[in-house]
Symmetry: C2
Subunit: 289 residues, 2 copies
DNA sequence: GTTCCGCATGAATCGATAG
DNA sequence: ACTATCGATTCATGCGGAA
């Protein structure tokens, strides 16, 4: 088979591409992407709905895409798949479970399953179930060894700034604060280290309240967390179903290169606007990275 | 096949039975149990360990048990299965996913998956993963229509709970808030008449740190939540892997009948002690029921 | 009666070592 | 090569004792 791929991703970097992600993925070079974060269109049994893929056809629809993602991903890279199965006929459908097993057959390692707990999930009341307040963030890898920068997502300890800091004198507290503010010296990092802890695999993030114009938008903090965890500055982040551009915004804000792909022209335009409005966040090296 | 089952469960009610749950389940009458809550031994790749079932054999080991549970459960009843897959060779093992699909083949409906978020998960640091802070609580039903008493687990709305706890210390407030989220605060009786909301499908409960004598104990609040949600007073609750007796304690405290089954004599004795020490909680009707 | 502090304790996982 | 054991790592919680 003739290799029709580009030599490098340079021409597509830091852009939102309009088109079918499978067609575009075919053109991308192998082993070029450090991280894929995406939230593909959810399954929908209502045929008339936009973009709805029937639950019973979901796995066969997605497998060609995950195959290409596996190819373009670097061996040390990570694929984060945000997904949640719908209720069909009173039951949770099993297409996500089947997808995990099918992707393992495809060669993926199912490394971990993070839970995104949506603090303010949409209200609603049904006679036999409560509000669905969580989604899966499935982590897949090509190899057992992959890049992970755990220090980049450390969080304050539970007692931090509450009981521990209270014991410091006012002078000490001000001195430490000034050190943190200027961000130099090894004492700062050790002080930070003692008051910071590694997170666990449950993420507590509120859903996006503002109208992004896209119905399936996750909050920018979600891709941002994974971008910091699995990439370093200037690495390449890909979202083949970029929607309103949230993953690209997260990557840009954190100083990573990105490629976003979106099929629908109106979302493509929206994503380009959102990315254009995003600003790079000044890196606080030595403190959080 | 000759029917060797008892005519009623009367002789076994409000007791902890010593023995193999599969053998004992065979003797129980069909359609007699309102709720099953259990946390079976987790898979373990260490062969020598007590009770360790190898991950690759887990599904075939559990299916005969779930078949009997299906038989003894009332058509309107619910089966809650608390379980979490282990990491094997750097990957999450798929035996839980396979179990869900196998149980659907068995005739179960996979109605819902609740997340138990363990705020205090076991510590540890590894190069490629964070601490595992959640477990699955899988809800299975025989029929689409089942009994569910949603009002029994309503929780105070966030704003009022916050002001109510204003006088507590920062540390205590944080801890109490975590309990408030699940509907179990220290001073719930004073919440009568306040604004209440339905919970969602994520439960925030800390594990029992203190010496329960059983290494695998979930907090009593966990079965208690499901007992209140899926049964009414005097209903029958079954736990075929009752361990230190937590499910039976929850049922007793809430005025439900219970049957606990435990294989190991030392845990059986422990469960009997724990149940004996448990007291019926005065029903606060109008608040949680 | 409260508040605060110290300490033991986990349904863990990985990598190295030993048989 | 493959399996069993052990040490290192790490933090929210609840309890007891003290102030």
């Amino acid at each position: 088979m003739v290799d029709m791929t580009m030599e490098t991703t340079a021409d597509w970097e830091n852009r939102i591409l309009l088109g079918d992600c499978l067609e575009l993925l075919f053109k991308m070079p192998s082993n070029s992407v450090d991280l894929v974060v995406t939230s593909p269109p959810y399954a929908d049994s209502r045929k008339a709905t936009y973009g709805g893929i029937h639950p019973d056809r979901y796995v066969e629809w997605f497998l060609p895409v995950s195959e290409q993602i596996q190819r373009v991903l670097k061996p040390t890279g990570t694929f984060i798949l945000n997904i949640k199965e719908k209720v069909v006929d009173g039951e949770r459908h099993t297409y996500v479970l089947e997808l995990i097993m099918a992707m393992r057959q495809q060669g993926w390692l199912w490394t971990e399953e993070y839970i995104w707990h949506k603090r303010n999930s949409a209200p609603g009341k049904w006679p036999n179930r409560f509000r669905d307040a969580w989604e899966r963030c499935l982590q897949f890898n090509r190899e057992k060894k992959f890049h992970m920068y755990q220090e980049a997502v450390m969080v304050p300890t539970g007692d931090w700034a509450k009981s521990r800091l209270r014991n410091l004198s006012e002078t000490d507290r001000r001195r430490d604060n000034s050190k943190v503010g200027s961000g130099f010296g090894k004492k700062v990092s050790s002080w930070v280290g003692r008051e910071m802890a590694y997170p666990d695999n449950v993420l507590h993030l509120a859903t996006e309240c503002s109208n992004t114009g896209h119905s399936a938008a996750f909050p920018v903090e979600l891709p941002m967390w994974f971008v910091r965890l699995f990439t370093k500055p200037n690495d390449l982040v890909l979202d083949p179903f970029v929607g309103s551009g949230t993953t690209a915004v997260a990557a840009k804000q954190l100083g990573r290169r990105y490629i976003g792909i979106e099929l629908k022209p109106e979302y493509h335009a929206l994503a380009e606007r959102n990315v254009a409005n995003a600003a790079v966040i000044p890196q606080q090296r030595g403190l959080f990275e």
